[in-house]
Symmetry: C2
Subunit: 287 residues, 2 copies
């Protein structure tokens, strides 16, 4: 395992490419907007003019793009990864996308003689930079094992979750739990403000006990500083929650709190707040 | 500050009385059911036959009983704390009750020449036992300062939250944040199970990152072990959430997730699950 094709040089991808090169992998890269890839190319990555060029002649092809439709565009069709990767190549989608789409990539990939894995991550841009991502992997166990060194270059907790789609399903669990904890933190803060408490004092009192959560820690100080810059974009959170809601419905499971949080976030997006961070959920309340 | 009257010798109260005596305070105790107080009496607490007897002749009177109506019974009327405590006594309600009721106790208590504080706790029975409770105090700052040694005998984080009612309001924030985080954890687990993930593997993968919460840590292992014994009673959580909902409405603040979680918990209570622990919320989902 030496030659990596990497598709999607965004905030996440860029750091992951750097960590792969640092670990000794050869990286060939493609991005829809070439300008965004210029610095990693200067640092030693090889630029490819198309997905097809980036996919051919590699040991593994990694993608981390935006929305499910971007994933489809990159994998399927004549110009896609599946049609252009060499037989035996490991194809690894690290985008957060739908488990259903992961299964489809796995099926078509296997038919083409490839080794598909779905491997979304948690840990955000800071985790990508530090190489401490958690990587949630679905696919065949032997393919997971074969790609371990690749994952270890980018992350710290590398977990095998089960067959194709299970990496994505696990990521959905992550987003579902975040939705509840985030809303709980926002509602506690909104209540506090409106009944006249000192919100900082309240948060200091409760955040280390049974009410504490990573979301409370992340969100509280940003909200109090009126900082609504994205750590994680509201619009991407909406995408993820929509997928989770859809998959939950498929197995006849109603997630009332997820549904609520998604509805509130969509209202905020309609009001033009999609490019803010998820802490903007507080704006749905009387804040 | 030496002589303490303590009303309510339940799971919480018993441990708190022991810690007060350990710190050198003299404890006189009253409980509706005498049998529950026998062991602390054997350990040196003085039994009182009534609230009135327990309230008279003390430096401070502490109460920790069940529901708001129990608090009213203990404080108001001819036989209550306010009518029977000596002038200058600190009267401290540590029950989780409504901020409105705390304000009423404060007003009537002050008129009677007493020093009222509302001081609900977090940390549960283990915190009460270990003397590590977080104590959320509302009332006059000088009364808070005067009672600090009393609180320090029972807790570790002793926080002044503001005027009368603010201790209770802060406890409401705690319960609101718990509602969201608990629901998020339950929904993630229900989703995982129904899509066919290994729930333990999923939890290991996500619980240390952005999705992590004290609720996830508390609830997950209990649910997986099918242990629905109460760490915190569902029926008490319903009481607390009802108070929070009511107070939020008073300040025209809609807490959508709290409302949802409360509605789900009430359905479970109607099905006879009120005496289970809060982790029973998972039973509302397809689990």
């Amino acid at each position: 395992m030496k030659k990596i094709g990497f598709i999607g040089v965004g905030i996440m991808g860029k750091s992951m490419i750097r960590n792969l090169m640092k670990a000794g992998f050869e990286a060939a890269v493609y991005n829809r907007t070439k300008e965004k890839a210029l610095d990693v190319v200067q640092e030693g990555a090889v630029w490819c003019d198309s997905v097809a060029e980036c996919a051919a002649g590699r040991d593994a092809v990694i993608s981390i793009v935006g929305y499910p439709k971007d994933v489809e565009e990159v994998y399927f069709g004549e110009k896609g990864i599946i049609a252009n990767a060499d037989k035996g190549t490991y194809i690894i989608d690290m985008t957060t996308t739908s488990p259903k789409l992961a299964v489809r990539i796995a099926q078509e990939g296997e038919q083409a003689g490839l080794h598909p894995l779905d491997a979304p991550v948690t840990g955000g841009d800071t985790g990508a930079k530090a190489g401490t991502l958690t990587i949630l992997v679905g696919g065949k166990k032997e393919d997971f094992d074969a790609c371990k060194t690749v994952f270890e270059a980018m992350g710290k907790n590398i977990d095998y979750e089960g067959p194709a789609g299970c990496g994505q399903h696990t990521k959905m669990c992550n987003q579902i739990a975040i939705a509840g904890a985030l809303a709980g933190a926002c509602e506690a803060m909104a209540y506090a403000k409106n009944v006249g408490l000192d919100v900082r004092t309240m948060l200091n009192s409760i955040s280390t006990g049974a009410a504490g959560s990573a979301q409370m820690s992340n969100v509280a100080s940003r909200v109090l500083d009126e900082d609504f810059n994205p750590g994680f974009f509201l619009k991407h959170f909406i995408k993820d929650m929509s997928i989770a809601q859809d998959e939950a419905q498929d197995v006849d499971t109603k997630l009332a709190v997820l549904d609520d949080v998604l509805a509130m976030c969509r209202e905020l997006e309609e009001q033009g707040m999609g490019d803010l961070g998820t802490q903007a959920l507080i704006k749905h309340y009387k804040w």
